[in-house]
């Protein structure tokens, strides 16, 4: 078992509020608890080891995917519900009650983020953190301060193990 909570070191801070560092089992629990979850994946997902795991997470937890950047190409031949949207635009829409969502059924209560540059996703999530009630769970390899809950900083190898544990717990 990988402890994904022990290293929450930051190079710079976004201020007084921080995300709660969580382990994979807790992340799985939160995902299962969500009423309208959305898996948000960045272009880093195209690394094969990650792509395979992202697909498993989406399938096992029945999560729709917001494929941002140019990540959609990884999901086209997979049996998942993935749609392209720009992540900055998505960050804005998540704060708007009238957004019908990617499927027309309304906004989301929880986003699960994976494979972004940490400065970019931190910036996008600073919008949802301050101006909405959307919960953000980061399951990438970097500690994301502006998420609600996040894995800590972990090595790439540990990250694969952590994602496997998450999948087992879903």
């Amino acid at each position: 078992m990988v402890d994904t909570t022990k290293n929450t070191k930051l190079f710079t801070s976004y201020g007084v509020t921080t995300s709660k560092a969580i382990n994979p089992d807790m992340a799985a629990k939160m995902i299962k608890k969500a009423k309208r979850p959305l898996l948000v994946v960045g272009s880093g997902v195209l690394r094969p080891e990650i792509l395979e795991r992202a697909v498993k997470i989406a399938q096992k937890a029945n999560l729709p995917i917001a494929a941002t950047g140019h990540s959609l190409q990884g999901f086209l031949d997979k049996d998942v519900d993935a749609k392209y949207i720009n992540v900055h635009q998505l960050g804005f829409y998540l704060t708007q009650d009238d957004w019908p969502g990617l499927d027309g059924n309304g906004n989301y209560d929880t986003v699960i983020t994976l494979e972004f540059k940490k400065y970019y996703i931190n910036q996008v999530l600073s919008g949802t953190k301050n101006f909405s009630n959307v919960k953000a769970i980061s399951i990438g390899r970097d500690y994301i301060q502006n998420a609600t809950m996040s894995f800590g900083n972990i090595s790439r190898e540990d990250h694969y193990v952590a994602l496997d544990e998450l999948i087992d717990n879903l």
Binding site: Y119, S126, N130
Partner: protein
């Protein structure tokens, strides 16, 4: 009584007495206002509130401010620090949104001030050197100053006549800055309106900066065949003394070039620049296309890399985008630094009043690490002579050599794999992984970091083993660096009236699919080559690609399989499929200027004092999209915001989310996608494009289709719309995958559908959207929510409607 005017007067009966009146407070503005100039719009010499209700709030109603704070706290005044998280209010009463609107606004006015101050410096210097009457010869154009004319209603034709516009920008900047004070403006939306106003002034400041230097310093004048200049570290002859100039303001450099030319030193040394000074030194005296000799070293991200190479024998800095550690770094390699602009003096001693020989001796001996010289005559002589003096000294001391292989191994072996550099790297390069492979003798991973590395040395700041990581990457990348040899067309200045006349119709109808403006700094989030890929893709598709600043450089830094750069492959005219290097950062005013001229010259709109109407025309009819892929500076935010107020959207790199404020529309809210038809004032639905005025993209692959889509306009005719849709959909398929979900929203009738896939796409409309198709006549019977009417006149301004 007759009024006093400027000029020289002799008084009768008093021999040898002449009175010269240079300026009368307010007189120039008054004269400008009194002069019969033809039709005038409603907003000459605007103030803080002038554009607010008539235009800015209309834009902001569709393009909503999207706030992404950098920090929970506000530390502005002594009430604080206040915690504003969850949009709480601080002790002064401001909320998180208002504070961050202010933060963004502050960046925009800082950028505006930078360009205005640059313009003021050049204007005063050139007025003093050449006088008031230098004509604004900018090429074959009648509309010389579109930004100045739209803002102030004046049409200057000489250097001296620019002064009222300069004074106006300065006065309004003072008003704008005042609103930042604690206890002043607090509404986010009003900071946005003020930021848009500041953006319009920024393009006035930039326009002034560039037209005065084009006119007085003999720059290319709207020349599509301006010469090609050598570019890249690999083009520098290491055997020659090297004078390296860094910054944005070319005034001082012209004196170095004059000294080199007068003393027959052009072939005996290298003169190379970084950042926009580099671009402008390759424009100096190039109106007649003489063979250029000065070189462009590269963008801002090469500043430390060129210093670490040891090659510069002297560095001269001027202003803007100059690293704060130039003296600190240069000193280690005994490179004297001369600060030539009062905006950056580095704490160095001033040598304006010392004899040249004495100053050279002081610098040569290392008694001082550098000095300030603001006297340009002295600067020209000292910098060039000192370069020749320092070269043999530094050569003999081995200071111009790169590190040895043994040194590299020693550095790499020190790495303890703590990961601190990965955490500190602003673009999150996996330096530990590259170091691990280097330890095992594989240096290719380090080499791969070179193109993406922005040369900031944050990694070195945190390395406990004090490894000079930047030097490690540079040493491992020597082969690539030696091959950094590109070409860039010298900045040509404005787009001429004739070019606008011949492209105007194509742009408004959409048959030239759009203007793509690649501008700005090199703080890329993926790789420097991204701008090359983007430019190439749009050039192949016959967009007009215009560039400025570091973007212009990086587009020319890469070669295709035949060894050709984009500047060699594509023509330099403002034509479909042309690659147009407009010039330096301040030349960005000519990009908005080109769009404004389409409205003024082709569209026949009054330009004078008429921002809202010109911007309205551009937003609805001129397909254009900017790309500031590595925007890092405050100036980039003001340039972009100036584009935005004129209805030109811009895509920025992922780092630019840190500007804290984007402008994004709700593509799902149909009420936002309506305009008026100016013929009768009726509402007409339009497609959701552009979807944003300012936003970010995650990767260069994502930016491509976003930009193509952002060039779609309500005025497109059928052919234009089908061409634009074809490019957007092809780019989406190639880089993102599949067909975009919302392509059907842009279809008004069957003729809008891209020709090559028309039958297939019509089947999809029938099957997926339930549209009714007459397959015999191959026509859409019902379905589209938007209608095509070739003579419709889309506008967001109700006051322009006939029946309004």
């Amino acid at each position: 009584m007759s009024k006093l005017t400027t000029g020289s007067f002799s008084i009768e009966d008093l021999k040898d007495v002449q009175i010269t009146i240079n300026t009368i407070v307010g007189a120039a503005k008054e004269a400008a206002e009194e002069e019969e100039l033809g039709p005038m719009g409603p907003s000459p010499f605007p103030g803080l509130a002038t554009y607010r209700d008539d235009w800015n709030l209309k834009l902001l109603d569709r393009y909503e401010p999207v706030i992404t704070p950098m920090c929970d706290q506000c530390c502005y005044c002594t009430y604080g620090p206040c915690d504003l998280s969850n949009n709480k209010r601080g002790a002064c009463g401001i909320d998180m949104k208002g504070h961050n609107g202010r933060e963004f606004f502050l960046r925009v006015i800082t950028g505006t001030a930078c360009h205005a101050a640059h313009g003021r410096h050049l204007l005063d210097h050139l007025l003093e050197t050449f006088g008031e009457d230098v004509p604004l010869n900018l090429g074959q154009s009648d509309v010389l100053t579109p930004n100045i004319t739209i803002t102030t209603g004046t049409r200057p034709t000489t250097l001296g006549e620019i002064k009222p516009a300069m004074e106006h920008a300065e006065e309004q900047l003072t008003q704008l800055l005042a609103t930042v004070h604690a206890g002043q403006e607090s509404a986010e939306i009003d900071y946005d309106s003020k930021a848009l106003f500041s953006g319009s002034l920024d393009h006035v400041g930039m326009e002034i900066s560039d037209i005065v230097q084009i006119a007085a310093l003999d720059f290319p004048k709207a020349d599509p065949e301006a010469p090609l200049c050598e570019m890249g570290i690999g083009t520098l002859d290491k055997e020659k003394p090297f004078l390296c100039v860094i910054g944005h303001n070319v005034a001082g450099v012209t004196y170095m070039m004059d000294y080199m030319e007068e003393n027959d030193l052009v072939d005996k040394m290298e003169l190379g620049g970084l950042c926009c000074t580099a671009i402008d030194l390759t424009r100096y005296k190039e109106a007649d296309r003489r063979p250029p000799y000065a070189k462009v070293v590269g963008s801002m991200s090469k500043e430390l890399k060129i210093i670490r190479s040891g090659m510069p024998d002297v560095i001269v800095t001027d202003e803007q985008c100059v690293r704060a550690d130039i003296v600190y770094e240069a000193q280690k390699l005994k490179i004297p630094v001369i600060a030539s602009n009062a905006k950056i003096m580095y704490g160095l001693p001033n040598r304006d009043n010392e004899p040249v020989d004495q100053t050279i001796e002081e610098l040569k001996s290392g008694a001082i690490p550098g000095c300030v010289i603001l006297d340009y005559e002295k600067l020209g002589e000292v910098s060039v002579r000192l370069t020749h003096e320092m070269h043999p000294i530094r050569e003999a001391a081995g200071l111009r050599d790169v590190a040895t292989d043994e040194q590299l191994k020693e550095w790499v072996d020190k790495c303890a794999d703590c990961g601190a550099c990965y955490l500190a790297c602003p673009i999150e390069l996996d330096i530990p992984e590259a170091m691990k492979h280097a330890k095992e003798g594989d240096f290719t991973y380090l080499e791969d970091l070179h193109d993406a590395c922005i040369g900031c040395r944050r990694c070195e700041q945190v390395c406990k083993k004090e490894i000079p990581i930047l030097s490690v990457i540079d040493k491992a990348s020597q082969k690539i660096i030696a091959e950094e040899k590109g070409w860039m067309r010298a900045g040509r200045g404005q787009v001429s009236d004739a070019e606008i006349r011949s492209e105007g119709l194509n742009l408004v109808m959409g048959t030239t699919p759009g203007i793509i403006a690649i501008i700005g700094c090199p703080n890329y989030s993926d790789c420097a080559k991204g701008v090359y890929y983007i430019a190439e893709e749009f050039l192949k598709r016959n967009y007009i690609v215009v560039g400025t600043g570091c973007g212009s450089m990086d587009m020319g830094m890469y070669k295709d399989e035949n060894g050709e750069t984009l500047y060699e492959k594509y023509p330099g005219g403002f034509v479909s499929g042309g690659l147009v290097n407009i010039g330096s950062c301040v030349s960005n005013a000519h990009i908005t200027g080109a769009a404004q001229k389409v409205a003024g010259i082709f569209g026949g709109r009054t330009m004078d004092g008429n921002l809202a109407e010109i911007a309205d025309y551009v937003l609805n009819r001129v397909g254009a999209c900017g790309l500031a892929w590595g925007a890092f500076s405050q100036k980039a935010s003001s340039i972009g915001t100036g584009c935005n107020v004129y209805g030109i959207p811009a895509v920025l790199g992922a780092h630019s989310s840190k500007y804290r404020r984007a402008l994004i529309a709700k593509d799902y809210d149909e009420s936002k996608w309506k305009v008026y038809d100016a013929r009768n004032g009726e509402e007409m639905p339009i497609p959701p494009a552009p979807e944003f005025l300012l936003t970010t993209a995650e990767t260069w692959q994502e930016a491509l289709p976003m930009m193509a889509k952002a060039c779609i306009r309500p005025s497109d005719n059928n052919l234009g719309r089908s061409i634009k849709l074809a490019h957007w959909m092809e780019l989406h398929e190639k880089y993102i995958g599949g067909i975009p979900d919302d392509w059907w929203k842009f279809i008004r009738n069957e003729a809008d559908i891209p020709l090559t896939k028309r039958a297939d796409l019509m089947k999809r409309l029938e099957a997926e959207r339930g549209w009714e198709i007459d397959w015999k006549r191959k026509k859409i019977i019902s379905g589209p929510k938007i209608k095509f009417d070739v003579s419709a006149q889309p506008t967001n301004l109700k006051r322009l409607c006939k029946e309004a």
